[in-house]
Symmetry: C2
Subunit: 192 residues, 2 copies
DNA sequence: CCTGAGTGGAACAGTCGTGTTCCACTCAGG
DNA sequence: CCTGAGTGGAACACGACTGTTCCACTCAGG
């Protein structure tokens, strides 16, 4: 019976796939139009509006799921960048490459912080702290400009990533070119 | 009679003051919440909702007025920076200082380009062209990194300005400190 | 085959923002 | 003082989005 209940909440197979389709479509859509309706999300996901409400009773439930999803990916990307290994500038470069893969999630994180008002966004996620630690290490080692505060470095990192992503989204540069520009700019800006 | 008609469209004195109050309040409000209602704008401006509709019959009329207003300020700021005088890096610094004064208009320009869909925003304003010319000049003179394209430099300029403005808006730094961080970062990033 | 999980669509009520109309109020200038 | 420009508020119709219910359909697995 307990398994029945659990199944009703998060079954495997079809349910998982449908849920993913909705969340992914919502991320891509809301990144372009933060005012998109649930009907738009449903259409983008290729499902009926009813189905969306079946998985996420209220709009806020969908938003929370998106927040959790993006947060999870950010944490995974941060872990993959192994920030505590090697010179700080190179670690930052790895982090940029990982974050760049977040794609539309990048846009949501950057210009919809109001949208990201779910549980675990108190300006202090593990990823934030890991990045802060890295910047502090770089300043101490003399491999990062000590004039720049960790908060500012973080802002610059996100805004340059956002700019690069938008550049490639608007077809003004390939993803590779955009990332290269971003890395070169960031590297020079943060060098001592 | 002609004067009567003109007066009905854009009288001087009280009407001009009320109009300014509405536009300014709308810029400040929409920068924080792009989904703010006209009732919110009216409240923020300290006028009745009816009055807003008297000056801007439809929502799109208000948005167009905001677009025109911001555009005008951007052009004025660009002119004040005298981009064709002195070394390119210094001209860019002057431009940053001017643009930083745009305040909330900065936010609207940056993350609400969809909102800026009025007449004169065809990705090619005079200010855009003046900035492009400046960057080209700097590249030719060897005072700006030739690896960075004018479009990218423009993106970086706006995103760093936006970051700096947000930093000061969130009280994480004074306006002066934020601008200093921005200028230092931009200067290093764009140096050859 | 047949059963139930998963789904889509139609229909409905409720809410909110928009745009409009109308009327009473204020107050500065003649 | 008094007149009219400027205003605010109430009320209304309308449309869009939301959240809910109900029913018919599909289709994979036992």
């Amino acid at each position: 019976m307990v398994e029945q209940q659990r199944a009703a909440v998060a079954d495997s197979g079809t349910r998982t796939r449908t849920r993913r389709a909705i969340v992914d479509a919502a991320v891509a859509l809301l990144a372009r139009d933060s005012g998109a309706s649930l009907a738009d999300v449903a259409a983008a996901a290729g499902v009926g509006r009813t189905t969306v409400h079946r998985y996420f009773p209220e709009r806020s439930d969908l938003l929370a799921a998106i927040g959790a999803d993006v947060l999870e990916k950010v944490e995974a990307a941060t872990a993959a960048a192994r920030l505590d290994q090697g010179p700080a500038p190179e670690a930052l470069e790895r982090l940029c490459q990982e974050y760049f893969e977040l794609g539309a999630g990048l846009t949501l994180m950057f210009d919809s912080p109001q949208l990201m008002t779910w549980s675990g966004w108190d300006e202090e996620t593990p990823a934030d702290r890991a990045l802060s630690r890295l910047v502090e290490r770089g300043r101490a080692e003399g491999t990062l400009d000590a004039e720049l505060t960790p908060e500012w470095v973080q802002s610059v990192l996100w805004s340059l990533l956002y700019s690069a992503w938008e550049l490639s989204r608007r077809r003004e540069a390939s993803k590779h070119t955009a990332l290269t520009l971003c890395l070169r700019t960031l590297g020079k800006a943060l060098a001592p």
